[in-house]
Every structure is written in structure tokens, then in C-alpha cells.
Symmetry: C2
Subunit: 199 residues, 2 copies
Amino acid sequence: MVPKVDVDGGEEVVGKLCNLTPVIAGLAREEVEELFVPPLNFANVDNGVFRSGFPNAANFSFLQTLKLRSVLCLCPEPYPDASMEFLKLNGIRLFQFGIEGAKEPFVNIPEDTIREALKVVLDATNHPILIHCKRGKHRTGCLVGCLRKLQRWCLTSVFDEYQRFAAAKTRISDQRFIELFDTSSLKHLPLSFSCSKKS
Amino acid sequence: MVPKVDVDGGEEVVGKLCNLTPVIAGLAREEVEELFVPPLNFANVDNGVFRSGFPNAANFSFLQTLKLRSVLCLCPEPYPDASMEFLKLNGIRLFQFGIEGAKEPFVNIPEDTIREALKVVLDATNHPILIHCKRGKHRTGCLVGCLRKLQRWCLTSVFDEYQRFAAAKTRISDQRFIELFDTSSLKHLPLSFSCSKKS
């Protein structure tokens, strides 16, 4: 039995949730509230667009708060059952553009795949959308980098953002891919983002 | 005189803008379009909230695309004339909560100042808002970290985000400040963010 503790309105919660000793349970009420666990490398990219590493069950309650309409996965492996179940339960559509997770010097990001994925990201009817791969560094970094080019960010800023997520795993080949990526075939698409058009 | 070059519709632009040799000017037209320069360490924090280092004149055309309603500056120095002029011209309100930029072990982030700044950030009538200090690492990192606590992010994720921006300049004292920051007095304020409430 869990002893009653003197926490403002929090006795039942403490008792039910964590079976704590009175000493620990004596913390402020916020300490016993459930905390959200965003996925690895989670961030806002722009209005309605998020990025992260592969979300797992611990991240599901956080993801629900984003009210996602779509998830865009850049990994080629079959989507895990538990994740499929989560998407179904929440009415979230899955787009999968499988790109092999290679290591340098054998990295080969297929330009056509990134271009098709980018079309999905640019389509506001898919928003809010979460882009993810495994760690949210390389494949996701390339896709977001190409999006930034389309938003006409200078390469210095595009690479700075890429490196913020890739950190010690930064790849020259990814940055070369972003630099060489030709955005001309996508320029006719409307951009719904904050920094899409020069005013 | 700049030689005429064979760029689709881009001759005049090339000639006017950059006085390039024909070899360089022969690049695709997109190369001669003006690019945006986001401020140092720029990122989306959440819907209608941005963060960065101190914006300078090179960033003004990018900032215009964000259609900002407010700027929240955490530096104590008088705001530069050129920046004030930019804000005035674009109808942007300045909130200044001056915090000295100290180095460890003499860092002292005033909790009351962060709390008042947080109230401004939480007020959706101030959005879109840009939070900035000098480099967008420490003072901005502390404020955003406290915001994440209010959004009930677990500390691991709060620190991960803090470190992504502070990188090699990560400060234990900032993280301790975030950890100890008491959000209870702010919990009654409505949060307009995507991940504000558990659904």
C-alpha cells in the first residue's frame, strides 16, 4: 500500500502512477505529471513540417500532440507493426520513400527519390507532416537541406542546419548532394511556408 | 563592361548584380537569384516562435519573409539604430529583457527576467516572434529550455535541443538553471503551441 502524502491534490496520482515512497512523493505536483518524450533529433522545420529520428512507442504520446496528418519515412525497411498501429489509430497517412542507410564512401542518395519525397512535403494538404529516417541526421538532413534550397536559403545556412543535427556524423557527400540538387523542376509548386517567398 | 552571356532571361540580372565573367555567369539562372541569409543559429521553435543569434542587415530580407510581429531581445545593450529602423519600417514591436552575457563560472541567469520574457513568448498576440540574444546559444537556449519544460518535454530532450545550438559552448550552469526553473507560476497561461496539451 502506498502511504498518503501531503502533495496538493496529487495523492491519488502519486499512488497510482509510481508507487513512490513518501520522501520522493513529497515533490511538487509537476514532478509526477507525465512528461513528453520527443523522438531523437526532433525539431520544427517550418510551419506544419517536423523532422526526427525513428519514433518509438515512448514517443507516441508526444506525437499525438502534434496532430499529424502524415508521416514521411525515408527508411526502406517494413514499417514496424506497433508504429503502423499507432498511425492507424490516429488517422495518420504513411508515405515511405526507402533510401538505404549507407556509410561513406558508399553513400548514394537517389535524387529522384528525394524529389518525390519533397513533393509530398511541399503539399500542404499533407501537413502537419513528420519527416524521419533512423537517426534524423543524414537522409532527413538531405531532404530538409533540399527544401531549404527551394526556400532560397544560402548554402552556408543550409549546411549549418544540416551540421547541427548530424554533428560529429556530418558527411561531405550529403552536403555535396544538397549543393548539386537541382530545384528547378520544383519551383512551380506553391510553398506554404513562412519563408517561401520574398515579399 | 560585362559581356552578354547565354543565360535564359538572366543577362541583365547578371550584368547588374555581380559583374561576373562569362564562365561563372554561365550557371543556371537560379544561381543569380538573390538568396536569403537566415541569422546565425536560426531555427523554428514552434508555430509562430523563432530563435536565432543577433540579426544583422544581411538577414533583414530573410526576416521579412517571416512576417514577424515581435522581436524579443535578451541582450542589455541599446538596440542598434539600423535594427531599430528595420523594426519600425516593418511594424515589428521590440521587447527587450536585458541579461548580461557572462562566461562560466560567473553566469547568472535571472529567473524573474526569464519568467517575464516567457510570458511575452507565450502570448500568441505577439506571434510570429523571434527570440534572440547575441549568438543564440546561452540566453536564448535558457529561455527556449524553460518553454520546453512548460510544454512538458522530458529534460533529456530539453538538454539535447539546448546542446544542439550551444554545441562546444554548452554550459552546465545553463542546464542547471533550466532544470531548477519553476514553471508552476506560468501553468495557468494558455499555450498556443502544437505540443502544449496532452490530448
